[in-house]
Amino acid sequence: MRRMVLYPLVALGAAVGTLCFGSPASAHGYVSSPPSRQALCAQGKVPDCGAIQYEPQSVEGPKGLKSCDGGKSQFAVLADDSRNWPATAVGTAVTFNWVLTARHATSTWDYFIGNTRIAQFNDGGRQPNATVSHQVSLSGFSGRQKILAVWNIADTANAFYNCIDVQIGGSGSPSPSPSRSASPTRSASPSRSAPVATKPPVPSGTAWAANTKYRVGDIVTYDGKRYQCRQAHTSIFTWEPIYTLALWLPV
């Protein structure tokens, strides 16, 4: 019964996001790490963000703004500092990594703290690579800061806006942030690091559930039938055993 209720609600949210907030073709890019506010919304770490969670790449507005929401009222949540956005702990330099869904010819990438531009990267109108990273020095700043990252498009009047909350020079992130695995090599041991926002491994034969980590060989039940996992994964809706022979074998 739970599945029957949850599944359509998830779908509905996505559909409404599409319907009400413009053409999906107007979507283009955002900072994924350290996570921008729209990335935190899209990954579900910050709840109740509204439409932005389905299109984090769409915060487009006229050039020259200093706003987290690009001046778009439907994304106003991004400019709401009272939302207690988690801040990522960083050192005196930080590398910003972008997700680009459409690679527009670019004039500059600008980074601001308050009204101070702390870095600029000039692409001179070129099309950027599919992955873009910038290392930015934060020397002279400390504590919690809100960094505005702006992607200025060369051949339109528009730019894309991101705010990234950081805690400079300390581990004082107000929210628990997952730590990167210390080991640079893949472990061959059967022990597994705790997944982020994922439930612990389930006893064999329990009902399939979304957001659950399944290992090869795990047995679940779904609609009264038993299935065995054949490819390790963390489950999502649409990967129910009845739909994915590639993930689940009937047993």
Binding site: A25, K45, N129, V196, T234, A246
Partner: protein, 188 residues
């Protein structure tokens, strides 16, 4: 609005237990019976091309990613998308339509879609190693799946065939959840 209303009705029916949860055969989506349009054909051809390009990226991810969670996610997306591609190919051939490889990004753009990940990006991935590889891989795949969502949303609005539209809805939903997982991995 018509679509929103239809979805709302569907949700209400489901909540009320009036849905028709006809369980399809495992791994098999409903047959693409019924009328179809040129848009349905174009969507399937574009999505096949898009996913086949993604499969190359995913193979690299399975082989080269550092963290087990990333390797497993790449593997699961790889096998489920390969399954989808098979279904889409079957539908096209049941309509006697050739599977045209739509590999030119300009071609995508001409249809109002987003450019796909091209050979240059794959080359950059092939050359990268370690955590640098993983970061590039995740950011490329996130963008790739955002593009799939955009294409699926267009199909939901413009397509005709019921089975293809259903597939598009599933693609939108699954890629959105994959992006969620990848954003956690890329910032974690």
């Amino acid at each position: 609005m018509r679509r929103a209303f239809a979805i709302l009705i569907a949700v209400i029916l489901l909540l009320a237990g009036c849905g028709t949860p006809v369980t399809p055969k495992q791994g098999v989506l409903p047959a693409s019976d019924g009328p179809h349009s040129d848009y349905d054909v174009m969507f399937l051809q574009m999505m096949i091309s898009h996913q086949e390009q993604g499969l190359e990226m995913l193979e690299l991810g399975r082989a080269k990613a550092v963290r087990e969670d990333v390797v497993n996610l790449a593997g699961a997306i790889d096998v489920t998308e390969a399954e989808e591609v098979q279904t889409m190919r079957t539908w096209l051939s049941s309509w006697n339509v050739p599977v045209v490889t739509v590999s030119d990004p300009g071609n995508h753009a001409a249809h109002g879609a987003q450019p796909a990940t091209g050979p240059a990006e794959l080359k950059a991935l092939q050359d990268a190693t370690g955590t640098d590889f993983e970061l590039k891989f995740l950011n490329l795949l996130i963008a790739h799946q955002h593009n799939a969502v955009e294409m699926a949303q267009q199909q939901a609005l413009n397509g005709q065939n019921a089975a293809v539209k259903k597939l598009a809805e599933r693609i939108e939903l699954s890629r959105t959840q994959q992006i969620k997982q990848m954003l956690a991995l890329v910032s974690g």
